[in-house]
């Protein structure tokens, strides 16, 4: 019995040693590869940043527009792509110098063309976007339609699930949807102002101000309208279409009663045509407050002046 046990132990030891050596070797090779790759990427980045890291560089397009081509290394590193992508991932034909000439004539053309590179990885979002009102309008060539970088930025891309990105969304959408001139071109209402005064908008604004690291629990633009698949509000399939709106409300307000949808004032300023009840209440208080306060102020002034008058004339009160 005893020798057998000894042999078993020796064999076990040998097998263990081999396994350990193998693991160490594999780890060394693996880490070495990653380190080498990172070093390669880093050196390549350094090559790009040797020129593009300088502040204030601009490029002028044939159409006459110029745009900045400087990249702040700190911003790039902090971005969500910073640790995952290299310059060449998004600029594959710019790895040599001199760079090939740009084909875009205008900044708009350049940005629309650049958005193509995003679809390489984000194909699902690209597919949704193509079918959205923004995507369809982009194909039609309207100049104000957002592309990927309009909302996500280029070198400063932040994770879309970050609280800051969520809390900042209304303002982001508001850059266009709060601009009456841009909206007028498409027959749309500038809704951003009205949103900021709504209950959801107030909560979101307060989160952005006082709790920037907590995502607002109140509905923001994409909670109701969709993200990359935003539809025309007139589209019967839109989540905000009259037939779907209550279902959309119930995603956050699961116990909402059947008359709940009219609590939403459609991003319109109350008036005789939009939520008239709200408008009447506004008028009521616009009249009541100055009337009551004015009456009280008059009584107060009268009381004080009678007292002063009595004192001046030496009358007891």
């Amino acid at each position: 019995m005893k020798p057998e046990v000894a042999v078993g132990r020796r064999r076990l030891l040998a097998v263990s040693l081999v396994a350990l050596a193998g693991t160490v070797a594999l780890l060394t090779v693996g880490v070495g590869t990653v380190v080498a790759a990172a070093a390669g990427a880093a050196s390549q980045e350094e090559g790009c940043l040797a020129c593009h890291g300088a502040a204030g560089l601009t490029l002028t397009l044939p159409g006459g527009e110029s745009f900045p081509i400087s990249v702040d290394p700190a911003v790039l590193r902090r971005s969500t792509h910073g640790s995952a992508l290299t310059c060449a991932t998004c600029h594959p034909d710019h790895t040599r110098y001199p760079h090939p000439p740009l084909t875009a004539r205008t900044l708009r053309d350049y940005r629309v063309a650049r958005a193509q590179i995003c679809t390489t990885c984000h194909s699902q979002e690209a597919g949704q976007f193509a079918g959205s009102i923004h995507g369809r309008a982009l194909v039609m060539g309207f100049p104000d339609v957002p592309t990927c970088t309009s909302c996500h930025g280029a070198h400063d891309v932040v994770r879309a699930s970050a609280p800051a990105f969520r809390n900042n969304t209304p303002q982001l959408c508001g850059t266009c949807h709060g601009d009456p001139q841009i909206m007028a071109r498409y027959g749309l209402l500038p809704v951003y102002e009205a949103y900021t005064r709504e209950f959801h908008g107030v909560t979101t604004a307060l989160y952005k101000l006082t709790k920037p690291y907590s995502p607002t629990p109140a509905a923001i633009c994409y909670d109701c309208h969709g993200v990359h698949d935003i539809k025309d509000t007139e589209d019967p399939a839109a989540p905000v279409a009259p037939r779907n709106i209550l279902t959309t409300c119930r995603r956050c307000h699961p116990t909402a009663g059947r008359f709940f949808a009219s609590a939403w004032t459609e991003h319109k300023t109350p008036g005789p045509g939009a939520s008239p009840l709200v408008w009447y209440v506004q008028i009521f208080y616009r009249v009541l407050i100055p009337a009551v306060l004015g009456f009280l102020a008059v009584l107060t002034v009268l009381d004080l002046s009678r007292w002063a008058g009595d004192r001046l004339k030496g009358r007891p009160r």
């Binding site: 008359f259 208080y285 009381d303």
Partner: protein, 248 residues
């Protein structure tokens, strides 16, 4: 104040009434302090107050906690009024009558120098009645609209949802009205009026000097003298004769 009006005093407010008033000071102020920043959220001071509270969620939690306190207090008040009525104790003199309307007009005429004599007031004059009913009206509106905003999902089971944004407008408007009315009217009458400056202590001591009662609530004074509760003060040279007590 006491030093200005030495002399005998009578009970004007019970301990329970004074506690009620003290509670109302606390609830009203906390509600205003946590509510106004929500209305004026876009200002710097509102941001600082909300930050101080630890964010909008905590601000709303404090606001709603004190709102519940105020609502409970209101129910207590209604109960106390009804109980006092049933027990035959006098507490119904708060009801506004035609006489109060007349008193306002006569008092304005007096203050404007168009009349020599100030109208004679009962236990509570028109100013005090106005303040009382302003609190009742304000609390009713604020509680109703506040609950609508707190439970919009439940409301929309029975009533149109448009009541929610309407309630929000009313809540904000009524808040401004209440706070401004307190600052103009209550602060003036209870603090800045030359006769009481810097403060009318009656609501805290529960007592009012008989002399002041005779001057400001002559009818109540006459009633208390008649009932033998108060010993009549010596007639001052400038003091008009006692008004006759109207039939109750």
């Amino acid at each position: 104040m006491r030093s200005r009006h030495p002399g005998p005093a009578v009970q004007r407010f019970t301990l329970a009434q004074r506690i009620e008033h003290f509670l109302l000071i606390i609830t009203f102020n906390v509600l205003a302090f946590t509510g106004l920043p929500q209305k004026y959220f876009f200002t710097g001071w509102a941001e600082r107050i909300i930050r101080l509270m630890g964010g909008i969620e905590t601000t709303r939690l404090i606001h709603r906690t004190f709102a519940v306190l105020l609502i409970l207090q209101s129910f207590y008040h209604i109960g106390a009024v009804l109980a006092a009525r049933r027990a035959g104790r006098e507490r119904g003199t708060m009801s506004i009558t035609f006489r109060d309307v007349r008193d306002v007009l006569l008092d304005i005429a007096y203050l404007a120098g168009m009349r020599r004599e100030r109208p004679v007031f009962g236990r509570y004059d028109y100013r005090q009645k106005f303040e009382y009913w302003a609190v009742v009206w304000g609390t009713a509106i604020m509680a109703t609209t506040g609950l609508i905003m707190w439970f919009p999902e439940f409301l929309a089971r029975f009533l149109p949802g448009v009541l929610v944004p309407a309630a929000r407008v009313a809540h904000g408007g009524e808040a401004i009205l209440a706070v401004a009315a307190v600052i103009i009217w209550h602060f003036y009458n209870a603090h800045f009026r030359p006769e009481v400056f810097p403060m009318d202590p009656a609501m805290f001591t529960g007592q009012v000097e008989v002399e002041r009662l005779r001057r400001e609530h002559a009818e109540e004074y006459a009633r208390l003298v008649e009932a033998g509760i108060v010993r009549p003060l010596p007639e001052g040279a400038d003091q008009p004769a006692l008004p006759s007590v109207p039939p109750q």
